[in-house]
Symmetry: C2
Subunit: 368 residues, 2 copies
């Protein structure tokens, strides 16, 4: 088992990475204060892992709360059913909420923990690659609003994150790829050597090689923990973690939550950010193409939906949380391995980026 630390003063917490952590009663007990726990999971993950986790928690009063699966359910109605479950089983403010599932479960269970009786303890047990390398670390929780993704939420840190690598064995290939989009992101924004490692190990990662997965997850979590420790509430550098996300959120919102997986939308959005960084003269065409090829090799879409016009993008991006006093800030690459958040770009470059024929760009790439 590897242990990393997210360094946030009195709210610091460990990330454990290993195989079989779901069954580790002693490890779990270390982070539970009261006698009650509520496991929040979804209809897909619960049949696979919920009873194993409940068994590891048999010394506690365990409440099981199983939600419908998918980003489309990341809304108030579903959140309300967590509160219903907690109140019906009379959970008090010393209870611990455990999120067992992907990013949607972690975001909703974490937000429920942040709000239930104005805040109770909370443990993340992420079961998808995406949530293991991204959403389970850093304390962002929340739900979607019909007018924007993650518009309602809280910064709320867990007591611990338990990453059980073994749970990836049941993850659909499409979702593994979606997780790799965020892994590749860390290379692009702050760890250029990691890009080379990923180029070497992409095939074994997709074959679920345990050692490769542990390395990729730990290196991703380290990057995330470093950035979150420096800027918990995203007043500065933390926003670089959103490479590809502003374009990606526009895709998710436009297509309807859940049609494109988050990681898929981020992948296409990252291609757009690479293209714009290239148009601004910050990275070369070869560097842009290197990023695109790696996303392709991870099994990810690299072309935004053909039905989306530049106007669609602009409309959705106008409500992005990175808008400040009317200015849209974008995460772009100064070079491979170094991201910046900036509103200081030519509007023409954004327009050109939104108007680019990505299908043609990628086809030409195939010939290279």
């Amino acid at each position: 088992m590897q242990t990393l630390q997210v360094d946030l003063g009195t709210r610091s917490y460990p990330i454990y990475i290993g195989s079989g952590l779901l069954d580790d009663s002693a490890l779990l007990a270390r982070h539970i204060a009261g006698r009650q726990v509520a496991i929040v999971s979804n209809e897909t993950v619960a049949p696979l892992y919920l009873e194993r986790l409940a068994q590891a928690l048999k010394d506690y009063q365990v409440t099981r709360i199983v939600l419908p699966d998918g980003e489309a359910h990341k809304n108030w109605e579903t959140l309300q059913s967590i509160f219903d479950g907690l109140l019906q089983a009379r959970h008090d403010r010393r209870t611990t909420v455990i999120a067992l599932g992907g990013g949607v479960i972690g975001d909703m269970a974490g937000f429920a923990a942040a709000c239930y009786q104005r805040g109770v303890n909370f443990i993340q047990v992420p079961t998808t690659l995406l949530s293991q390398v991204d959403s389970s670390v850093g304390g962002k929780t929340g739900i979607n609003h019909p007018l924007g993704k993650n518009m309602v939420g809280a910064f709320y840190q867990p007591q611990a994150v338990l990453i059980d690598i073994a749970s990836l064995s049941t993850l659909p290939a499409r979702e593994l790829s979606a997780g790799l989009a965020e892994v590749i992101k860390y290379g692009l924004i702050c760890d250029e050597p990691f890009l080379g490692w990923l180029e070497t190990h992409m095939d074994v990662l997709r074959e679920l090689d345990n050692a490769a997965l542990t390395t990729a997850i730990a290196r991703s979590c380290e990057a995330k923990a470093r950035v979150v420790g420096a800027d918990e509430r995203e007043s500065g550098i933390r926003a670089t973690l959103n490479l590809g996300h502003t374009f990606g959120h526009a895709i998710e919102t436009h297509m309807g939550y859940g049609v494109w997986l988050h990681g898929e939308a981020v992948s296409a959005g990252t291609v757009m950010a690479l293209e714009m960084s290239h148009r601004l003269g910050w990275i070369s065409a070869a560097e842009r193409d290197r990023g695109i090829r790696l996303l392709q090799r991870a099994g990810l879409p690299v072309v935004p939906p053909k039905e989306m016009t530049p106007e669609h993008f602009l409309e959705h991006m106008a409500v992005d949380k990175k808008v400040l006093d009317g200015q849209l800030r974008l995460v772009l690459l100064k070079r491979l391995g170094e991201a910046v958040v900036t509103a200081d770009y030519a509007q023409d470059a954004l327009q050109a980026t939104l108007s680019t024929d990505y299908r043609a760009l990628v086809e030409q790439l195939g010939d290279a």
Copy 2:
């Protein structure tokens, strides 16, 4: 204008108490960071004060969000309409939410500010006595759940509290009385000399004497600020502020939110807490009766609803936030001016308190 300070380290903030603060552009501007503000009010208060406040904020982009009035609307649907208003007007994370109204508006606007884009700035402009002396100070925000009051919420501190005494001139007498319940509470829990002052000034307070109101509000806010400063997240002494509230919440829940005003339920609940403290031998019958008489003179109900049985109370109190690991903690009086939070009482005393014939108790009091 009087200024008090709530001392919470980096989250400290001032409470201003004076007449005409609603129109004080410079004072408001001191606590607004961005260019956008959203005034959240209700259908009763908005026609009286919203445009005056908007006029004082004419240098900003002002969004008006007017909610239905009353505790019955302190729920998710109404909260959602605040998010709708913020998103439709494209408020970004530098916006400031201003709560203009009573406790329900403050709790909901504050919770919306806590959750909108994971937290934006927020100013309290309480217009009822109850919210001026209690809910606007201390950072408790939230909404009700069908299974319990204030079960969903956040600790979230405002940038400032502006108490405009002049707004009490339009407050219905019944609501003024409800506010006095909380004023009397401060005397009972931590300021015995204040009880004497209130006995002398109760009539002029109810006649809205400006000087008496300023004194009563400032003394109440000082007590609250002191307690909140010592225990922001209610791990200890802050719970003493809930004298009468556990019984009172049971009344509110049972009768349906809004049928009894919060202060009215707290008044009857305080009588029950006085009775129980007497039964435990901590205060004398005369001290209990002194408290009851003061609540009566404030125009408040001092008898719980006759349709409520001891079983009703126990059922509702079982989900109170002060339950820890199955133990119901109650706020009781060791003596007038000193409250304790305790689960260490004879169950018989609670049963006897719930079974007391308060009508008879109060009638006999009238003869004294």
